[in-house]
Amino acid sequence: MRILVAVKRVVDFNVKVRVKPDETGVDLANVKMAMNPFDEIAVEEALRQKEAGKADEVVLVSIGPAEAAETIRSGLAMGADRGILVKSDGRIEPLAVAKVLKAVIDRERPGLVILGKQAIDDDSNQTGQMLAALVGWPQATFASSVVLDGERAEVTREIDGGLETLELKLPAVVTTDLRLNEPRYASLPNIMKAKRKPIEELTPAGLGVDVAPRLEVLKVAPPEPRKGGVKVNSVPELVDRLKNEAGVL
């Protein structure tokens, strides 16, 4: 079975982004970029399934600018087999990404597609669910455990009340949550090996997908600043201030 993993190039999670002064977007000049952390978890999961003999190939796909090849390359260095870069400059929305992924699925015929639950830049939390709808497959979002068993997957999901376990018939779409695994670091030999692994280049137009955005971004503004407060020196002072100043006791 082939596992397809969608990996997005995003701003590194340690970076606190700033809004551009003209409020047209966030300033990404000279900002460190990395693979979306949930997608690293997705790659790790696919590799573990392959290592356990449940899959025989792990293919990574990214939709984005030429630099997204670096993101694919870092997943190949973790151990994935090959990559597909669907080149697209400019803003691309989850619905369009899902349509591109559907077109890639039509070519690659994976038995399982793993995505992150959320891209930490747009914070949409949509793409996997949309993809599952477009291909008509069952979905298990926010996975904390994935057990593959022949034609089925048993997936445990992190939900608001606790945990829920579903059984899906493959092919299926799974999105990762934080507790699914801890992604490995790429070893130096694997980084070298990854340089020779193939990355195929495609375009949305070549796949017959219209990626024009449906949402117009009118403005990107900084959030309302929160005024820094005071330091108190003792528990009695804290209690007194909460009671008499903040009025919340």
Partner: protein, 310 residues
């Protein structure tokens, strides 16, 4: 055109986030119908009918909708969508699971996690862990929206109940099945509805401490307990307690952060609380930059004192 609110419920009452999503739905300016779907959920439909601003309740009740799996739920909503200009749900785990599936079937780009209705087709939503607020205008002919519940107030119950109309449940899902759920039982208020939240981080050092130091204070204040990702990852707290960019978003009257450094991903989940109190032994911890009241010191000494002083 009318707005459809996809309501979350426990078979008897609507979930608090759905009541807040209703407030957002009403701001779209049209009538709001509520969809209550599940198995044996008529009581919840009757509760929905009493909400101020709900003019009709659609009740889809059947074993096909047991556990409200995304696949049959999406099929149901799409079959009803023709009558509606917008479909709205709270951005809870259930809403996030379901609504993009609906949106894609309708060929609509969902607007996720809105925090403000600027106009019926224009919304504010946080991006980059809340470090930027995006204003987006949709060009889709139908809208699919999830609502950040903490950004909207809960509604009130109305005077006269709205009519409850039965709709046929969809086919059961052929390819996905519910196996089991492990739901945390707690007598404390829900994180997303509590007026006071006490959150613990890695500074608590163990699951035993997490409970021993936070529970007495939470009980005294009738507060919900939350956690940082580090505390959840380390097994001090259950996953459903995680507050943050990728966990739950809370905005209580008071948030007390104990042994939490204040990473941007954590702040994203609590920085809109009215009053933030931080207890941390590191005076340079970033949490102090957002805290109204900061107390530098060892939480293992401070928390028992605070519990005793209240």
């Amino acid at each position: 055109m009318t707005t459809l609110l996809v309501a979350e419920h426990d078979n008897t009452a609507l979930a608090e986030p759905s009541l807040r999503a209703l407030a957002a739905a009403r701001q779209l300016g049209s009538d709001v119908h509520a969809l209550v779907a599940g198995r044996d959920c008529r009581a919840a439909a009757e509760a929905a009918a009493l909400q101020d601003g709900v003019t009709k309740v659609l009740l889809a009740d059947g074993e096909e909708l047991d556990h409200q799996l995304a696949e049959p739920m999406a099929e149901l909503i799409v079959s009803l969508a023709g009558d509606y200009g917008a479909i709205v749900a709270a951005a809870t785990a259930a809403g996030k699971n379901l609504m993009p599936r609906v949106a894609a079937l309708l060929d609509v780009m969902q607007v996720s996690d809105i925090t403000r209705v600027v106009a019926p087709d224009t919304f504010e939503r946080p991006i980059y862990a809340g470090n930027a607020i995006e204003t987006v205008k949709s060009s889709d002919s139908k809208l699919v929206i999830t609502v950040r519940a903490s950004a909207f107030g809960p509604g009130a119950t109305g005077v006269a109940p709205a009519p409850v109309v039965d709709v046929a449940p969809p086919r059961a899902s052929a390819n996905s099945h519910f196996v089991r759920a492990v739901i945390a039982q707690s007598a404390r208020p829900e994180l997303n509805a509590a007026r006071i939240v006490i959150s613990g981080g890695r500074g608590l050092q163990s699951a035993d401490n997490f409970n021993k130091y936070l529970a007495p204070l939470a009980d005294k204040l009738n507060a919900a307990i939350g956690a940082s990702r580090a505390a959840v990852d380390a097994g001090y707290a259950a996953n459903n307690l995680q507050v943050g960019q990728t966990g739950k978003i809370v905005a209580p009257d008071r948030d007390i952060a104990c042994g939490i450094s204040g990473a941007i991903q954590h702040l994203a989940g609590m920085k809109n609380s009215k009053v933030i109190v931080a207890i941390n032994k590191d005076p340079e911890a970033p949490i102090f930059a957002v805290a109204d009241y900061g107390l530098v010191g060892d939480l293992f000494e401070i928390l028992p004192q605070l519990t005793a002083a209240l």
